[in-house]
């Protein structure tokens, strides 16, 4: 069917403007990162060398090389930072799923108007500043802060324990900040499930845990994939949470990239770190995209 009343000019405009914008400000910058990751760090402004040089005789000398990547592989500091980021993101995603699934399930099965109210309460923290919510945990976890006060009052500990600046604080910060991103897609997936299937299974004698494992869980799997993607992918590159809540040695890869860029001014290494981070994220990102494409088709 021909598009009604959309002249060719309009069509070109509708597609062209966002296409041009994203090419110019998303694709081209990324190609630049690739390019600079292959160049040498030099003392200049900007601090990276050219990929090739032409001498007086017109000979082209290729300067591009993989030295930065070789350096990333050789220095265990970077490998550890990647592993730490992947591990932290994995554990946090798992915990967020364990908290998020029952929460989303409870909301989806709640009666109106409770359901909408609860849903709104999940979204509301997202609209307040992310930075301020992370900072709030810094307040709560202080040595003389309220959480330690509570632990001592309960008699669980005799003196304040170090919680802030530990890995536990990083997990807590990530789970807390990204929990709404886990709950929302799970809620969307659970809410649209057909309850007659559960009834049929129960009528046929399946105990509740069996109904959950063979019907509810498999059918809500797209929501699980989406929620885990929305938590895991940004958590890998997270900078603010390890910087504010983690100890000085909690070198997650996002923080390493930041420091290479801002503290060491080594743009080529920072770019190489970025390229390598994306290599790790390609699989989860593609899984996530496939899910997105499938829900759009619905």
């Amino acid at each position: 069917m021909a598009d009604i009343g959309q002249p060719a000019l309009g069509r070109r405009f509708v597609i062209g403007v966002p296409y041009l914008w994203l090419t110019l400000f998303f694709l081209v910058p990324f190609i630049l990162v690739l390019k600079i990751s292959l160049s040498e760090s030099i003392l200049a402004q900007p601090p990276y060398g050219p990929l090739w040089e032409t001498d007086a005789n017109g000979h082209v000398e290729v300067k591009a090389n993989g030295d930065n990547f070789a350096y990333l592989v050789e220095d265990p500091f970077y490998k550890d930072a990647y592993l730490k980021a992947l591990k932290t993101a994995f554990v946090s995603t798992l915990v967020a799923l364990l908290i998020g699934y029952p929460t989303a399930y409870g909301i989806a099965r709640a009666r109106q108007p409770w359901r909408n109210t609860l849903l709104m309460l999940v979204v509301l923290p997202f609209w307040t500043s992310f930075l301020i919510r992370v900072y709030a945990w810094k307040v709560l976890l202080q040595g003389n802060g309220p959480l330690n006060g509570l632990l001592m009052w309960l008699g669980l500990v005799d003196e304040p324990v170090q919680i802030l600046y530990t890995d536990f604080a990083i997990y807590l910060g990530i789970v807390y900040s990204y929990l709404p991103f886990m709950v929302l897609p799970l809620y969307a997936a659970i809410e649209r499930l057909d309850l007659t299937l559960n009834e049929a299974a129960a009528d046929l004698g399946a105990p509740p845990w069996r109904v959950f494992l063979s019907i509810t869980l498999p059918l809500s799997l797209p929501g699980v994939v989406a929620g885990c993607g929305l938590v895991f992918i940004p958590a890998v590159g997270e900078f603010v949470i390890p910087e504010m809540l983690g100890g000085p040695n909690a070198a997650m890869i996002g923080r390493v990239l930041w420091n290479e860029f801002f503290a060491n001014r080594d743009w080529p290494i920072a770019s190489a770190v970025a390229v390598a981070m994306l290599v790790f994220l390609v699989v989860p990102i593609m899984l996530f995209q496939r899910y997105q494409a499938r829900t759009e088709g619905r």
Binding site: I15, P18, P29, L131, Y135, Q142, V236, F239, E296
Partner: protein
Amino acid sequence: MNVRLYSFVSLAFAFLYLPIVALVIYSFNASPRVTVWQGFSTHWYAALIEDRQIIEAALLSLKVATLNATLSVVIGTLAAFALVRYPKFRGRTMFTGLVAAPLVMPEVITGLSLLLLFVASESLFGWPKERGLATLTIAHITFSLAFVAVLVQARLSTFDRSLEEAALNLGAPPWKVYLVITLPLIAPALVSGWLLAFTMSLDDLVISSFVSGPGASTLPMVVFSMVRKGLSPEINALATLFIGAVSIGILLSVAIARRGMTPPTH
């Protein structure tokens, strides 16, 4: 079963709201030591209003957020139309990828890549001479427009096109069909897209830190430099104002939704 489930749900909500409530309470603490309660005071609100650095950063952030939200809605809506209304055009696969990629790209990578672009463009074309309002707005639009596109796309794909066709058959010119039928029908998605883009811009620290230059600090950048190494009672007051504004905004939007506007659905 249900009692256990809803006890768990209550605990999850306590977890979500406890830190926010604590900040609000501490913002009225007289003591300069944040976690030691010394009586009620609004001292930190007065200090906040007199802090020129914070006020200037807040003004810059509001400017960037407004520009960003408005332009993101325009470009993001175009992107959504391209995705929903044109199932076939050259480079559509790449276009789909380009729209979705900023949604999942780690912020440090987006920030770094945009800064490299601005630096390269300065040495090639002499623009941008200094990094500030313009570079911040461009960077924010690049990540915001994807979120707007998703919202508008959801609205457009459940859209009854027979209304548009009827209007066209009755002889209305396309621009009039767009203004009178299409636009009002997708308006809720445009409003939520604008608000989302505005909030994300106001909230962004990482990408802004990469693409802004000296003398152009946004509010999150100033807040971050204040709380990076310690606590600051002024920030508690700022957080409380923020939370208050958001709560009022949400309550208003609920009230509007109750009065007949359909809320955007996923």
